[in-house]
């Protein structure tokens, strides 16, 4: 694992509320970092990842309030929870640099299925990871912490 992946993992953990173990367990760490690298201006991603080393909640709050880094940080949360890239839009690009392929999109079929939203809902991705006949009639389990 490269330092850059470690930085991304630490930042992602702060942003999502899921630990490194859970995030690695999605199998999507490398794909999400690659998706960001493919889209974002390199200097923006570098600047954001640098915060992975020291980001406490106060620092994360500051990142989210930043007009350049905030929208990207929010998109990283959506990557992990939903497996999607959500278009940042023309005004962000105009101010902060060009984005490649800035369209609403699911990163991949695997990313859809790996979304943490299903975990936190105590459920499963619709259309995948079937729970078995009749499982839906049982009381929901507690959301794993």
């Amino acid at each position: 694992m490269t330092d850059r992946s470690e930085q991304f993992l630490r930042l992602s953990s702060r942003l999502t509320g899921f630990g490194a173990f859970d995030l690695r367990g999605t199998g999507m760490l490398a794909d999400y970092l690659a998706a960001l690298e493919a889209r974002l201006p390199a200097n923006v991603l570098d600047e954001l990842l640098a915060h992975g080393d020291d980001a406490d909640d106060q620092a994360i709050g500051a990142i989210l309030a930043d007009p350049k880094l905030g929208p990207v940080a929010r998109n990283i949360i959506l990557l992990w929870y939903c497996g999607t890239w959500n278009a940042l839009g023309a005004s962000w690009s105009a101010a902060c640099g060009a984005i490649a392929d800035d369209k609403n999109a699911v990163i991949s079929a695997a990313a859809y299925q790996a979304g943490l939203q299903w975990t936190v809902a105590g459920a499963h991705p619709a259309g995948a990871a079937q729970q078995g006949f009749g499982a839906w009639s049982l009381a929901p389990g507690a959301s794993p912490q």
Binding site: R14, G17, I77, C82, T84, A121
Partner: protein, 597 residues
């Protein structure tokens, strides 16, 4: 043009009605050809799985998301409704909000599987309630065919749950499979709502959360073998898949059941193909050729294309010939093809009286976790407002109790996550907030009856054609006060249910875009249920109807026009089971007439 070897019967459309009739006729030894406008990816398990992969990767996971239409056989998509850039040319005043699929397997590829029978009173709206019109058939005439349809589609239910509002079953009758277990959230709602009394037009009704009959594989009763996934091999190898013989809770009946535990028409087609049926995919019926002297149909012209993705598809034109022709291509497509061929019915009845179940969503947060996003998209409904004397004054309605949280109304869970993130939440607080809200999401659909209205219609206009020169449907549609008053009552009853259940009403919050319609001082945001009906209604009077009670065209005696388009009225039940029962009845009547001839 080339003439081809004649068949006994040519059927247009490989959906549920066409499949059931083709299977029955093929089984009786007739030579049958089905022309299907769309691609046949669902014939093989691998092909179907490609459609599933497409669903996973789609950003908008609407009903059509796995089922991209061929350019030569376009279809409506609810995602195009707001921009009105889709297949339908909508002339208003309201937008028609439903979609269907032109493909091998038809719209059953993405239906929910609800298989309610119509109520006896639904067939007698004029004589019982003084509105609309009566059917030329009644419940008792259709009951034996309902039984057959329930076995052909593989419906799971317990008779004890389904005998209400006059619905009766033959002594000893059993559905082929036990009911699908109700969800935990159904049970939670039932605990709060069962026994609640409401007033409808001066009468009292008592509400009950009730398991509905579903065409999804559950625990089979003795002697019934559930049908799983379809896998037809080009080299003639037999089907070897045992996937999908029991629902496994994929929470994706719509738009695609990954294991095919929910019925689709491909299962019936597969059986018929083993029995000798010919199905020609990517063959778009373009004209019914009629002998002007006696009105008999001489052939069906169709356009065959190779590349579903070509923007300007190359095609060749052919004529399919047979003794008998059957249109089963959908309420809108049947009417469109007839109108494009100059078949308008007496007094312009073809295309008229288009109906749907305009529907509202209501959603809220339960007082404690109910476990949404698990199980079939719904397993129960509230059926007690489907019948009663109030129907003289306003529309009947039913509730579908969702198992998929706020998904259809707001786009949850993605939209719930996005909202929380937009509010500035992150880290543990985000996770906790989502665990609190996502686990308590409750959603009902309020589907409202619509009566036949001659002004609501499908027509064609030479100015609007598709990529291979066929007309596209032009839709005129309005929702009248009878339906809107029912909608208002449905919303009122729902608010009372939420209050009684301690559900925090969030209806309207974060709502996805749906078309508006105004009633008195209210504006409703409604959606279509995909329940098209009424465009070639059956009746006893050739001046008022397109087909007779056998679904045979009054003016073209070797042409049958089959499907929910034949419904004179549609009540509140999902149309598939009733159109399946009618199709099976029509196949019997056709066979009897051929044997007599």
């Amino acid at each position: 043009m080339s003439a081809e070897a004649p068949f006994d019967v040519v059927i247009v459309g490989a959906g549920v009605a066409g499949a059931l009739i083709a299977d029955r006729l093929t089984g009786a030894g007739l030579r049958v050809q089905v022309l299907e406008a769309g691609p046949d990816t669902a014939r093989s398990f691998d092909g179907y799985t490609q459609n599933l992969q497409q669903f996973y990767a789609a950003f908008a996971k609407g009903p059509e998301s796995p089922w991209t239409p061929a350019k030569a056989a376009p279809q409506p998509d609810t995602g195009d409704l707001r921009t009105q850039t889709g297949y339908f040319v909508q002339r208003g005043p309201q937008l028609y909000g439903s979609s269907y699929t032109r493909r091998w397997g038809g719209s059953t590829l993405h239906w929910l599987g609800v298989s309610l029978r119509m109520l006896p009173e639904d067939f007698r709206m004029r004589s019982r309630h003084g509105v609309a019109r009566d059917w030329p058939l009644d419940y008792d005439a259709l009951a034996p065919h309902y039984e057959r349809a329930e076995h052909m589609l593989g419906v799971s239910a317990d008779v004890a749950d389904q005998a209400y509002l006059g619905v009766t079953f033959r002594d000893g009758y059993e559905y082929p499979m036990h009911r699908v277990p109700p969800s935990y959230s159904d049970q939670a709602l039932a605990d709060a709502v069962d026994g609640m009394e409401v007033t409808l037009g001066g009468e009292r009704a008592t509400l009950k959360v009730r398991s509905y009959p579903a065409a999804r594989n559950s625990t089979p009763r003795e002697g019934y073998a559930p049908q799983g996934a379809v896998d037809i091999h080009a080299d003639g190898r037999p089907m070897d898949r045992f996937v999908g013989e029991r629902c496994a809770g994929n929470t994706a009946c719509t738009p695609i059941c990954p294991i095919q535990a929910r019925y689709h028409a491909g299962k019936t087609l597969a059986h018929a193909i083993q029995g000798g049926l010919t199905v020609l995919a990517q063959a778009v019926a373009s004209k019914i050729l009629v002998d002007p002297a006696d009105g008999s149909v001489q052939g069906i012209e169709y356009k065959r294309y190779d590349d579903p993705n070509a923007v300007t598809p190359a095609f060749t034109t052919h004529v399919a010939k047979a003794r008998v022709y059957i249109l089963t291509s959908h309420a809108v497509e049947n009417a469109k093809l007839m109108l494009a061929s100059g078949l308008t019915g007496r007094g312009g009845t073809v295309g008229a009286n288009l109906m749907d179940h305009p529907a509202l969503y209501a959603w809220g947060l339960a007082p404690s976790p109910v476990g949404p996003f698990r199980g079939p998209l719904s397993t129960s409904g509230i059926e007690d407002c489907r019948g009663g004397a109030f129907r003289a004054r306003h529309a009947a309605f039913r509730y579908d109790v969702g198992n998929d949280g706020w998904k259809p109304a707001t786009g949850a869970p993605d939209a719930t996550v996005a909202d929380a993130v937009k509010q500035g939440l992150f880290g543990g607080r985000l996770r906790d907030a989502l665990a609190t809200t996502l686990t308590r999401q409750v959603r009902l659909s309020l589907a409202v009856e619509q009566l036949p209205d001659p002004a609501n219609r499908v027509s064609v206009d030479p100015a609007h054609i598709d990529a291979i020169g066929n007309p596209v449907p032009v839709i005129q549609y309005r929702i009248d006060d009878y339906t809107l008053a029912g909608m208002a009552k449905a919303a009122e009853v729902c608010r009372a249910m939420f209050q009684r259940a301690g559900i925090t009403d969030c209806t309207g919050q974060g709502e996805a875009w749906f078309p508006p319609v105004s009633y008195l001082d209210q504006t409703f945001r409604y959606h279509g249920m995909g329940h098209f009906a009424g465009t070639h209604a059956m009746g006893d009077d050739p001046a008022q109807s397109v087909v007779d009670p056998d679904q045979r065209a009054w003016d073209h005696r070797n042409l049958f026009v089959v499907g929910s388009g034949s419904f004179p009225t549609m009540g509140t039940s999902n149309p598939t089971l009733t159109l399946a029962a009618l199709a099976l009845r029509t196949a019997d009547r056709l066979l009897a007439s051929l044997q007599a001839a």
